[in-house]
């Protein structure tokens, strides 16, 4: 981050040699230059990869605000209504939760293999993580089916409305996470402006956040019924 106030003047007068605006974490190899050069010349190289870290941090805050708004409405609505019939949470939800927590562990294992440059191990663990994420989503659909079979619909009562919208909103966000995991798995990173370790790290932040968010929502649904 270019944040220093006292910049030595002599250094600055010299024609810019590149790396301007570059952060402490340099991408592995300058492969990004070639791709961006097609569109326009970037004397300083591609903009710093810091933007991905800042972006995911701010994005997480923003998504958190979204779910906090949902959750606060849940608490207020529960306190003020007389038509609240608690939803009996299907047992499959606990299995789903286990799968999601396990996926966070395999994700970290995958990133550790990546840092040891064990690419095949990374790919295997990353695939397992993606599969566990998909398993979670399928499990959530199963939970919906079970509730529907019991005759609990979105329109049944406020509690069921909240159950469906929480799971749907989280599921949609997690679907985005699965997409990000697949992107990391499939994308050829030698031509991208983002390096593989960076992409994996960004995806992992989002994934862990989704994991924690689900546990929060589940606790809310379980304790708040």
């Amino acid at each position: 981050m270019p944040g220093t106030t006292a910049v030595p003047d002599i250094e600055l007068v010299v024609e810019d040699i590149g790396g301007g605006g570059g952060g402490p974490t340099a991408p592995s190899g300058g492969s990004g230059d070639g791709d961006d050069g097609n569109k326009r010349r970037r004397p300083g190289g591609p903009p710093s990869p810091n933007r991905y870290y800042t972006g995911i941090a701010l994005g997480i805050v923003s998504i958190l605000m979204f779910f906090m708004a949902l959750a606060s409405a849940f608490l207020v609505r529960r306190g003020t209504s007389g038509d609240w019939i608690p939803v009996h949470l299907p047992a499959v939800l606990w299995l789903n939760t286990l799968a999601l927590i396990a996926s966070s562990f395999t994700l970290e294992r995958a990133r550790r293999s990546l840092s040891r440059l064990n690419l095949s191990g990374f790919r295997k663990l990353w695939t397992i993580t993606t599969a566990l994420g998909a398993l979670f989503l399928i499990g959530q659909l199963v939970a919906w089916r079970q509730l529907v079979a019991q005759g609990v619909f979105m329109a049944s009562n406020p509690a069921s409305s909240f159950f469906y919208i929480f799971t749907a909103a989280h599921g949609l966000h997690l679907l985005g996470g699965v997409g990000a995991l697949l992107y990391v798995l499939v994308r050829k990173f030698d031509k991208a402006s983002i390096a593989l370790p960076t992409a994996a790290e960004i995806a992992s932040y989002y994934w862990h956040f989704m994991d924690g968010l689900w546990i929060f929502l589940l606790a809310l649904l379980y304790l708040g019924k």
């Binding site: 944040g3 003047d9 326009r40 004397p43 906090m68 606060s72 207020v76 609505r77 038509d83 329109a155």
Partner: protein, 566 residues
């Protein structure tokens, strides 16, 4: 300093077609301009609607060309009001100062060549266009599906604003040029940045509210009990409950929107006042703090709604808090503007006139806000002419003045030509007088209606004055709207035939966007990345040839300029 060989640097790339140059371009300048065009179109559409409404209020029997085909019922009039409001608030006041000017000038002013995520930026723009189409389309289809479409469009707009806000904040944090430390950032950048952070927090709350509303409407969920309550009641109860419900939803958006619309305008005004007073911003650090304060209060008041009173925005205490919490930062900003203007050699061109107009409108609008902060009075006159006058003055018109000032200021940079100054000044004075003639009597009308509420003082003579006052307002608004024709003529004429801005820095301003040719080349800064050496408001510097030091000028060059000046 600036190089202009960007077009010749890669001759092998073919000239891109219309679609890739204007429609699918991820270039921040193209997207910023597209936002401005969209806002320009919306503002004239919205103006036409306000004209229709005022004419209908005063001469209900008048035959209007456009209205009867849509059905001449009262709910059509209400829909017209809604459409006028949503177009103006979302696509003009929110989009133009933030997404429009911000997209174009935020990267230029911090020395970045692009926003952080260009593709996301393009997506945000087209989502905004989609929401514009939806908002307008909601007026044309049947009311029930129209309301659903309207909510969907607002949700899309929220998502677009979130993308935009994410882009702006990451760009400001990570893509600044060498030497552009936080204290050196122009106030405009500060305002865009803080507004982006505020927007990122509140638009996701609005999005959540939209998700609830839509589930209630489409999937008959039970989030807002009153919706279901109304559906099961006889029509007479519905008639009483609907306005309350409407106000409730309205404040959901308005509460946050006021800050989102006005924050970038504070930045623009501060920038213009400093540049055309040829003086540094008075107490610049304090101004930044005040802007932070506006953002913080804007969020906290909203947060209070969400967390303490939940989904119920009808706490009078919160209304009072909202009005008074904005007071301190607003006072600081006002003091800074006056302090900058004090003893300055003011250049009264059109851009500066509009900036001063903003200050005047903000002050008078803000003063009437103090009355509204007393919630007993506000309760009597909510949805009344007093409120209409108040928020149009402080939010709508004031922000429009800031936008127009910014347009006059940046027009040479955007298009390489200048707007016509005499025509611009004429437009300013008619508009300035016009908006006061429109909205000041509205305050009066509100007070008259208020005095009629109490039974012991009917004041028939004053009430009789009301109708003539309404006619006066309508005539004034006719004149004001037609004065905007002057602006349109000036704008289109200058675009094609305007006086060419020969130099890249016609206003002798300091920030980075003036160091590049007008209009800026595709890659903004040519071959070498810009480097920043000083703060953004180095005006009235004593021993230099001219009275200002641009941010990009190296100390050696400024020393040379000093010698040649002596």
């Amino acid at each position: 300093m600036a190089t202009n060989d960007s077009c010749t640097s890669h001759p092998d790339t073919p000239q891109p077609g219309f679609l890739s140059r204007y429609v699918f371009s991820t270039n921040h300048k193209t997207i910023g301009l597209n936002y401005l065009w969209l806002a320009l179109f919306s503002v004239f559409l919205g103006l036409a609607m306000s004209l229709l409404m005022r004419i209908h209020l005063v001469w209900p029997g008048a035959h209007l060309p456009f209205l009867p085909s849509l059905g001449n019922s009262p709910d059509r009039f209400a829909a017209l009001t809604t459409l006028h409001g949503s177009l103006m608030v979302f696509l003009v006041l929110t989009a133009a100062p933030q997404a429009g000017f911000g997209n174009y000038f935020l990267p230029l002013q911090i020395g970045a060549r692009e926003v952080a995520f260009p593709t996301l930026n393009l997506l945000a723009f087209w989502a905004t266009v989609a929401s514009f189409v939806g908002l307008t389309g909601a007026f044309l289809i049947s009311p029930q599906s129209g309301i659903t479409l309207w909510i969907v469009s607002v949700a899309i707009f929220c998502a677009a604003s979130l993308f935009n806000a994410l882009n702006f904040s990451v760009t400001t944090i990570d893509l600044r040029a060498k030497g552009m430390s936080l204290p050196r950032m122009p106030i405009t950048v500060w305002a865009w940045f803080l507004n982006a952070i505020l927007g990122m927090l509140i638009f996701s709350i609005l999005l959540a509210a939209c998700a609830y509303l839509l589930s209630d409407r489409l999937l008959s969920a039970h989030f807002f009990p009153s919706l279901n309550f109304i559906a099961n009641q006889p029509a007479s109860v519905v008639a009483k409950a609907v306005p309350v419900l409407w106000q409730r939803l309205f404040w959901f958006f308005a509460q946050a929107e006021v800050y989102v619309a006005v924050l970038p305008c504070f930045g623009l005004t501060t920038h213009l006042v400093s540049t055309f007073s040829r003086k540094p911003v008075w107490k610049e650090r304090l101004v930044v703090l005040a802007l932070c304060g506006v953002g913080l209060f804007g969020f906290c008041v909203w947060g209070q709604h969400m967390f303490s009173s939940g989904m119920n925005p009808f706490s009078p205490l919160v209304f009072s808090l909202l009005a008074s919490s904005l007071g301190l930062p607003a006072a600081i900003l006002l003091l800074s503007w006056l302090g900058t203007l004090w003893n300055a050699r003011i250049q009264l061109n059109t851009a500066m006139l509009f900036a001063l107009g903003f200050i005047s409108l903000f002050l008078s609008g803000g003063l009437s806000g103090i009355f509204l902060a007393r919630h007993d009075l506000a309760a009597a006159s909510v949805s009344d002419d007093f409120v209409t006058g108040h928020f149009h003055l402080v939010m709508g018109v004031a922000a429009t003045f800031a936008i127009l000032g910014a347009l006059f200021f940046w027009f040479p940079k955007l298009f390489g030509r200048r707007l016509n100054e005499p025509l611009g000044k004429l437009h300013f004075w008619i508009t300035f007088a016009g908006v006061y003639c429109v909205f000041m009597p509205m305050h009066w009308l509100g007070l008259i209606a208020h005095s009629r509420v109490s039974p012991d003082s009917p004041l028939p003579s004053v009430a009789a004055a009301g109708s003539s006052m309404r006619t006066f307002i309508t005539v004034a608004i006719l004149l004001t709207v037609f004065a905007q024709g002057l602006f349109l003529i000036n704008f289109l004429w200058s675009l094609i035939r305007g006086e060419k801005a020969e130099e890249s820095n016609p206003w002798r301003a300091t920030t980075l966007e003036w160091s590049v040719p007008s209009p800026p080349p595709l890659d903004d800064f040519g071959l070498s990345d810009p480097v920043v050496y000083r703060g953004a408001y180095e005006f009235s510097v004593l021993d230099v040839a001219e009275d200002f030091l641009p941010q990009h000028l190296a100390p050696e060059q400024s020393a040379k300029a000093r010698e040649s000046g002596e």
